[in-house]
């Protein structure tokens, strides 16, 4: 199908973009990579009267380490994040997730900020931000504010971004020596949205793992931490018995979807938990 008619604006500044949002309210949509939005327009699942193309804004695509954090500009394209040395070195969890996002042609256009703003429940990056305790910078008519990933994802395709806001950057803590990461997902075809996936981070200490964060995706309306399983993996030596106990402690309640039944998803979540827990125990090079 073809999209319903709309007007097109390509502002040169963030201020202009926010002013346009204010003027057109709910009838306007921001366009970043378009890899989700244009598909929904083509299917007429959405029919805005104005598209505000963010691709003319300068400086919103930077990827840089800033002190103890790594900052990714909202308009950084997936392909640039995937190839970034800064990301490889200081945000290895994100580096591991990138190749799973769609296909090369999708990654050539899709943006990091777009993925976070779209908040697909089966998407990799929202879960990575949750596992990393990352934060999202939002700019609105009153200026900038920062929201923790923990409170940013509010419901199915629903986030803390207001109707006059632009997501401008994402920040995650830069990886330190003792940080450990794990990532795995199961999908029908490489690059498809996951049936179930898991992004995880932890700290290794002389007494075993600490600060374990397990963020599952594809199991609920938003990425979800499995807190009981996190506790089950904290401290001490992790052997098969501990792993089985962690799987038994998985506090997830998935529903059936087009990809799999709830029972299958729950089983797969257990499989992923074991794989990812082993990754958390490996030394990082």
């Amino acid at each position: 199908m073809k999209p319903a008619p709309f007007a097109y604006a390509k502002p040169r500044t963030l201020k202009e973009a926010i002013a346009l949002l204010g003027k057109h309210k709910d009838n306007a949509k921001l366009l970043a990579g378009g890899q989700s939005l244009i598909a929904t327009l083509n299917m007429r699942l959405s029919a805005p009267t104005l598209l505000i193309d963010l691709n003319g804004l300068k400086g919103l695509d930077r990827i840089a380490r800033k002190g103890a954090k790594v900052e990714i500009g909202a308009l950084a394209r997936h392909v640039d994040v995937e190839r970034s040395d800064v990301i490889a070195q200081y945000a290895p969890l994100i580096a591991r997730a990138m190749p799973h996002i769609g296909h090369p042609a999708i990654r050539n256009r899709g943006t990091f900020g777009g993925s976070i703003a779209f908040a697909d429940p089966a998407a990799e990056l929202p879960a990575c931000l949750l596992a990393l305790d990352g934060e999202i910078e939002i700019t609105g008519p009153k200026g900038k504010r920062t929201v923790k990933a923990e409170t940013f994802f509010k419901g199915l395709f629903e986030t803390a971004i207001g109707p006059r806001d632009v997501l401008t950057a994402i920040r995650v803590p830069a990886a330190a020596k003792d940080n450990r990461y794990g990532f795995s997902e199961l999908s029908r075809r490489h690059g498809d949205y996951a049936i179930v996936g898991l992004a995880a981070s932890a700290r290794t200490t002389s007494k075993g793992l600490a600060d374990v964060r397990l963020a599952f995706f594809g199991v609920d309306a938003t990425p979800l931490r499995a807190r009981k399983a996190e506790t089950a993996l904290t401290g001490g030596t992790i052997d098969d018995k501990r792993l089985n106990a962690a799987v038994a402690a998985l506090d997830l309640d998935p529903s059936d979807d087009v990809q799999a039944t709830a029972a299958v998803k729950k089983h797969l979540a257990g499989v992923l938990l074991k794989r990812v827990a082993r990754q958390l125990l490996e030394t990082r090079t």
Binding site: P5, A7, G34, N42, M43, N55, P104, R109
Partner: protein, 162 residues
């Protein structure tokens, strides 16, 4: 100019193009309908099949997920362009020799996608090839022949450089 048309200038296969378009027109529809470049195909129109693949500013994109309006000042290349200038002549011969196409619907997009990987140099593994073309559906060949063709061209190009 009404709110629902706009003028764009870009280059397509090296030639300057100035056209008036509706903002809602996708790049692939623009190429097919305004410029009669029908080598880029339209399948699903929501990013899944890959049939609409074209090159914008040197990288492959989904022609159905980009608007013509977004191509102001861009350098667009289609299968017609890369066929005429010989860039993918070896790939085209290999596809034919190895039966890497049957109906041909997926082929223009498959060739552009293949070229993006092979252009990077070296001989990718079969797994890397599979991953790279994972976003391009082919309903005829079963993919093996396409991978054979890509692999043989990568080897030939690497050999030729020695």
């Amino acid at each position: 100019m009404s709110a629902h048309t706009m003028d764009i200038s870009l280059t397509v296969n090296g030639e300057a193009v100035n056209e008036r378009v509706e903002p809602r027109m996708t790049l692939v529809d623009f190429l097919r309908e305004n410029l009669s470049l029908t080598g880029s195909h339209v399948g699903c129109e929501h990013g899944v099949c890959g049939a609409c693949t074209v090159r914008v500013d040197g990288v492959v994109v989904r022609g159905c997920l980009m608007l013509a309006a977004q191509c102001e000042g861009a350098k667009v290349e289609t299968i017609e362009g890369v066929s005429d200038n010989g860039e993918i002549a070896d790939l085209q011969i290999a596809f034919e020799q190895r039966n890497a196409l049957q109906c041909g619907f997926c082929t223009p997009a498959m060739l552009l996608t293949a070229q993006e990987l092979l252009k990077a140099g070296g001989v990718p593994s079969r797994d890397e090839i599979r991953e790279h073309i994972s976003g391009n559906y082919c309903r005829c060949t079963g993919y093996h022949a396409i991978i054979d063709a890509m692999e043989s061209v990568a080897q030939a190009r690497a050999g030729g450089k020695k």
